[in-house]
Amino acid sequence: MFKSITRNSQRIRINSRSIHTIPKLELHDQWKTNGLSNLFSSQGYTESWINFQNYLLTNLTLLTNGTGNETKHPFQILLNTAKQSTKQHIFHFASMAFNNHFFYQQLTNQEIAKETKPSRFLMEKLIHQDIDSLESLKLKMNNIIMNSNGQGVLFLVESKDKSLQFLNCSNDGTPFYYGKNQILDLNGGIDEHTFKQLENLKQRVKNGDSDFNLPILAISYWDIMYIHDFGINGKSEYLNKVWDYINWDIVNKRLFQV
């Protein structure tokens, strides 16, 4: 009896109300004062990480406190809300908080990034996508982003059969659930290809398919990433720089190891 009480009280302690706070990045203190050399100035870093993440998490706190989601992590919240038609605003903040953190986790200083490179294992997998070098991966991904409109995050994901694919998630789309990938654009004309993809998605939802995609690499192209350092029209300049700051050791580790 005593045991169960103590365990309960422990659980209560863990469950006690708290607000979402910004995760601490390894090089946070350094970046806050100096920025990331040519990619983010200290102001750019403050806006795109500290303020943006704070914005997302504060909104998430406001929308989840007092509900079943209040003690959960953004990742759990995004999975919990993805399928619910009335909770899409909560999904937005949870999913973006996750995406932004995921993107920042793979960044490091230029000098350190230079020492790392994609593993052979990763490059072997990319060959199936007709990508034979880091340079062509860069080109391919930058090209997809330059042809996308609005905000979004481009993911490289490892799918169920362990092959690699690109998922261009508009806005707050998540790579973890196909119903909310948000890879289509229905804002203008809807062509045959888009329509078929949409029907296919509907069928998958109907069948209750599971999604086994896991993100490996993310390039965020939300305006806030480049607007302070490269200007409103600085997307391409930002994209050319960002690759010099990817810590490939972290990306390599995200791949399923045999």
Binding site: N171, N187, G189, N233
Partner: protein, 306 residues
């Protein structure tokens, strides 16, 4: 319909950014767009982005064969022409973004009573204030707003809320809405004149266009085109999905009279990530109602709705 839009002129398949006198002045003097944008923002938002969009558009136009050389095309026509052609996806985006940019900036005037200020995280907790100015003076217009939205406060609230709720790129439009669907008009009225009885607020996302005639029925058209075999139950009353599509694209004629671009690029530099509400409040104070009134179609006060 868009006679006052100045992007009409097209010579040798090119469009150029219309000359906006007050913005040219700002560019020359290096001053702020009083009460809304800093000089830096308006420079990048209007001049740089506008020129980017038009040069990209011209570039793509020169490569396509959808246009006949001897005809003059309006930007609107280009948008409609390119909409349902997947090869012209980018062209369509550039054209609609250019149109949207001009439509938004055109209806703004400076108002030095507003402050342009960066907000911090506390702004998220604040309840939006009720006090505001810049109320349109035209009696008929005000009456129409009251008829459609209840009051000017409710109208402003709805407008700001719809804008603020957009997460990514998007535009909130105020439109005059025809009471009858175009489908109905086609069949039943020989003269095909839409009558505008209502004002409404509509959102478009990611460079979408506000043209119900083009968008309505796309999904069902596509279904027919692909002769999709859907298991239809005779006894079923129809699905929610169908109902949603029919309501979302009811093919009523919409005439935009005001638009607010709420994409992050508009407020991030001057107001910060926490400042969207402040930005929208400032936009309200800077709306040039004269331009809005010029766009307004004639109002019909009839009660039949279809």
């Amino acid at each position: 319909m868009f006679k006052n839009t100045k992007i009409l002129s097209r010579r040798l398949s090119t469009f150029s950014l219309p000359v906006n006198k007050s913005l040219e002045g700002i560019k020359a003097t290096g001053e702020n767009f009083q009460g809304l944008f800093s000089n830096k923002t308006i420079n990048q938002l209007w001049f740089e982005r506008g020129e980017n969009l038009s040069s990209n558009l011209n570039n793509l136009l020169s490569q396509t064969s959808i246009l006949k050389n001897d005809k003059e095309y309006s930007l609107q026509t280009i948008i409609s022409l390119s909409m349902n052609t997947p090869e012209l996806y980018q062209l369509h985006k550039y054209a609609s973004n250019l149109f949207n940019l001009n439509f938004f900036i055109e209806s703004l005037k400076q108002n030095d009573a507003n402050k342009i200020e960066k907000k911090n995280v506390d702004a998220l907790l604040e309840t939006p204030k009720n006090s505001f100015g810049n109320i349109p003076t035209d009696h008929d217009f005000l009456d129409w707003i009251n008829y459609s939205f209840g009051s000017i406060e409710e109208f402003r609230n709805l407008l700001i809320n719809s804008g603020r709720a957009i997460n990514g790129d998007g535009i909130v439009w105020v439109v005059a809405e025809s009471s009858m669907s175009e489908n109905y008009l086609d069949k039943n009225l020989p003269q095909k004149v839409p009558r505008f009885t209502n004002l409404a607020i509509v959102n478009t996302y990611n460079g979408g266009v506000l043209n119900d005639a083009e968008r309505s029925g796309q999904i069902s058209r596509m279904k027919k085109l692909l002769k999709e075999e859907t298991e239809e139950d005779e006894l079923e009353l129809g699905s929610v999905e169908e109902a949603e599509y029919n309501v979302a694209y009811h093919n009523k004629s919409l005439i935009p009279i005001l638009s607010i671009d709420v994409s992050p690029r508009n407020y991030l530099l001057d107001y910060g990530v926490f400042g969207k509400q402040k930005y929208l409040e400032n936009v309200w104070e800077c709306i040039d109602w004269d331009v809005v009134l010029r766009r307004l179609p004639e109002r019909t006060t009839q009660l039949i709705t279809m």
